[in-house]
Symmetry: C2
Subunit: 430 residues, 2 copies
């Protein structure tokens, strides 16, 4: 069987499985999730053996220590994956919710009801925990999953999926063996084949670095829900509470700089800069944050004795820097002339992910909230809150900066679509 045939078979099987998944009751799905969690722990040693094959190959292939660490599955990590499935079992079923209901003058009752999407392809990088997390969320929302993890994690991913499917089938006769499938090859062409099968695959959600996501978006014929990167901003308005601004800026930058909702660029109203910039620059330098600043900010900082010892950590920002997602202890700083310039900067250089204004001025806050065209916009809060858990979604399959389909953090609800149900008593159209 060639690659195209193999991918077609995989996708066709997933579509058939999605029909039977859509029929499962909430209780059936939850029982399967709990059985999967137990089986992961029970078969932990087998999963670890598969993982050791990946670790050995990875070491030989020269993966970095950080990459090997992401790849590794130990007992604690497996327990944490199992806990994740139990948490998903405890969440409300997202299928069958009535989003809208209307009774037409002719007596036809219309209901807009959530349904599973169908077949979801997840493409991700090395962490094998995504295999179980994504499969669990897709299963709870009634979707069949096709998983394509990093090539260095293939053995681990297959072992996890086998345990999940086997536990599901042990729990429930109606559980399809194709509900959760791992692409059995590391051939990159497999992705392109799979994402051309619009008759079977309903959506693709890539997770990982920008280059992976761009490659997927570029080749896919099926809808892709994604975010390329997180170039997030905090704008400190002229009427900001300075202490609040300090805490939000520090949290958005240094609490966890490697994640997509961390701040990359700080915008400060020019009027406030003399009072705020030296203070925040000092605090940031204590955390070894490199600043890339505009000319005006540099002049202001140069005039300050107190930060002269941190001069080596201050550079002039290049035009490209404003577009950068550093995921590191680096921060762009620009002074702006009021809220409109801040909004324009964000809409031009940003990635439509998460942006925040710090101000006591309600009119300017409302303008910022209305005009910044991002998935999540905050007033007096850190950008770091853009996260399924923080939003109360219970779990997250990813974050979207798209405008068609889900936007912002995606939990179980965002793994559903809807259909319209019309209940009549013989209505015909005149």
């Amino acid at each position: 069987m060639n690659l195209a045939e193999e991918m077609s078979r995989l996708a066709r099987q997933a579509k058939a499985a999605s029909r039977s998944l859509a029929k499962l009751s909430t209780a059936e799905k939850n029982a399967c999730l709990l059985a999967m969690a137990n089986a992961l722990e029970e078969h932990g040693p087998a999963i670890q053996r598969a993982n050791e094959l990946d670790m050995a190959a990875g070491t030989q292939a020269g993966l970095t220590g950080a990459m090997l660490d992401r790849l590794k599955l130990d007992e604690k990590r497996i327990a944490s994956i199992a806990k994740g499935l139990r948490d998903v079992a405890a969440l409300p079923d997202p299928v069958g919710r009535i989003l809208d209901e209307r009774l037409r003058p002719n007596g036809l009752k219309l209901q807009k009801m959530t349904t599973p999407i169908g077949v979801v392809v997840i493409i991700y990088e090395s962490r094998p925990n995504v295999t179980a997390d994504a499969a669990g969320l897709c299963f709870k929302s009634g979707n069949a999953t096709i998983l394509r993890g990093g090539k260095e994690a293939l053995n681990s991913n297959r072992a996890i999926a086998e345990v999940l499917v086997s536990a599901g089938r042990g729990q429930l006769a109606a559980f399809s063996e194709h509900a959760i499938q791992v692409v059995p090859t590391i051939d990159r062409e497999a992705i392109q084949e799979l994402l051309s099968l619009t008759q079977y695959v309903d959506v693709c959600m890539p997770r990982g670095g920008e280059s992976l996501i761009r490659a997927v978006a570029e080749c896919s014929k099926v809808p892709v829900i994604k975010h390329f990167k997180g170039v997030c901003h905090v704008f400190v308005d002229a009427d900001a509470d300075l202490k609040m601004a300090e805490e939000i800026v520090m949290n958005a930058k240094v609490q966890r700089p490697a994640v997509c909702n961390a701040m990359e660029t700080l915008l400060i109203d020019r009027a406030l800069a003399p009072a705020f910039l030296p203070v925040i620059a000092n605090r940031l330098s204590e955390k070894n944050v490199e600043l890339r600043v505009d000319q005006e900010a540099r002049e202001l900082l140069n005039g300050q004795d107190s930060i002269s010892n941190t001069q080596t950590r201050i550079k002039l920002a290049s035009e490209q820097d404003w577009f950068n997602e550093y995921n590191d202890y680096i921060l762009n700083v620009r002074l702006v002339e009021g809220v409109q310039q801040a909004i324009d900067h964000i809409n031009y250089y940003g990635s439509a992910h998460s942006d925040s204004i710090v101000t006591r001025n309600e009119a300017r806050a409302k303008q910022f909230l209305a005009e910044v065209d991002s998935a999540a916009v905050y007033w007096n809060a850190s950008t770091r809150f853009t996260d399924g858990g923080e939003f109360g979604m219970g779990a997250e399959i990813g974050i979207s900066t798209d405008k068609v389909g889900a936007r912002g953090p995606m939990g179980l609800d965002e793994l559903t679509t809807y259909k319209w149900i019309g209940i009549g008593n013989g209505q015909v159209r005149s």
Copy 2:
């Protein structure tokens, strides 16, 4: 300027216009829509002169009478377009609705609020009224539009768009001249260029025949919301009210056969076929509907004297016929063994558009409503109701059979996306 540069300029202008459109108040938008409606009537003669150029070129190019009729704009049609804009002005503003609201334990208040999508490309065939209808709906929902109608209607479309923009600018200084733009060339490559500009264009909605829509979906790098075709079914269950089933079948097939929500295939429970099939075959033959039937239905019909005079209108259906959208006085008929076979037939051969079950049996109705994977599923009602007007949306920009983004009829609400707004008092993440 070459084509790529020209399309890039068009799209960039649209994106800039979308920023200013998003700021308009409901009153400002409605005043512009009413001014546009008045201007269309006032400048009717100029629009008709432009239309006459298209009509003359179309006649010379050998367009059929039906195509020329679709192309024609007379005073009555222009009045009807103007009325459409006034109707849109009267509809509620879809922007700024709160879809969800949650207060997190840390005091952060989250609101999921509807916003405009941004830049919407509409690609359509010859009817020039779509130019104003689509522009009006997009404008009311705060989106900038780029319109690409049929090449035979270019003069008409440009004339309409000019009147709309000029009226908008006359009414409101903040109205951007790029809020509504017509692609100024009939070069087909323009579409491909435009739909590669993911940094400016947010969504494309093609309207027209399957080949147009497939071509757009195939080449587009931006999300496309679409339906390829409407292969709609009515399933007459064993427990159907026969008189109701007759009326629904006749309405779904012959009330307007050329539209996408008309029925193409009738499925009848085998148990009911002897009582129902001859009756409905007779009624359909009175309306000159050709039947393409399975072997079993043919044998049943052959045994009936009463319809022997209509034999020439009954053929055996081919495998391909079950996939066909006839948009004509032709109907497939198949006998099935119960509701599950009907559901399986629809999910395999259908187009996920609109399907109906006629039955008094609640359990089977619920199974059908749950398992038929279509945008609209009916119980005891005609498939013909899948329509923005019939759904109470006031107006319709199209119908979607997609699962990412809007599904079913699309009105103003379906021309919006959402953003998350987080309002805090200094919250940071721990």
